[in-house]
Amino acid sequence: MSANTSSDRDATPCAYTDYREGAAAEDLPATGEDATGLEADIWDALYGIEDPEMPISIVDLGLIYGVYLEDDTVTVDMTLTYSGCPARDMLTEEVKAEVAAVDGVDDTDLRLVWSPEWTVEMVTERGEQALQEFGLSV
């Protein structure tokens, strides 16, 4: 690396990627506890999706960072436990399909986000209980 680039403090791993900070980790994950109407139906659909390796809802696992409803279009922000998660396509496709199947939803947009990064802290209390019962220490 040349002296010129190493002194560049704003340098990012990839020059072609737009890096943005996500919401504060303490405000996450989103669980939709205050959701009503169509939004509540969408959360119900998301709660119905389980992790392929453990009997825990992806919402309780803390993968969902936000659900935004604009007219009939739903935008779901979600993350994965690892960027190299082998269940990536399986989970994103299932989320898109389940949300699109909710009555009243016209369009579904899924944004895979990586900031803030997922940690075990994102698992909800109910999720911890589910994992414990499954025989997994959290």
């Binding site: 075990v120 025989g135 997994l136």
Partner: protein, 56 residues
């Protein structure tokens, strides 16, 4: 040649024992940093003599 440890093996429960999900004992050892999936490590509980996994 790799000079630093692969960061993917840095899982918890090595120094301090993880809590056993069956008997809640912390008298446990980590047997392997990775389990059947990327986000699980393998442990053994001396309290109830059972193997268990920890979610990372």
């Amino acid at each position: 040649m790799r000079r630093t440890r692969d960061p993917s093996v840095e899982t918890s429960g090595d120094e301090a024992g993880a809590t056993c999900p069956y008997c809640e004992s912390t008298n446990t050892v980590r047997e392997h940093p990775k389990g059947p999936s990327l986000c699980r490590s393998m442990h053994y509980c001396h309290g109830c003599e059972q193997p268990f996994e920890k979610f990372e």
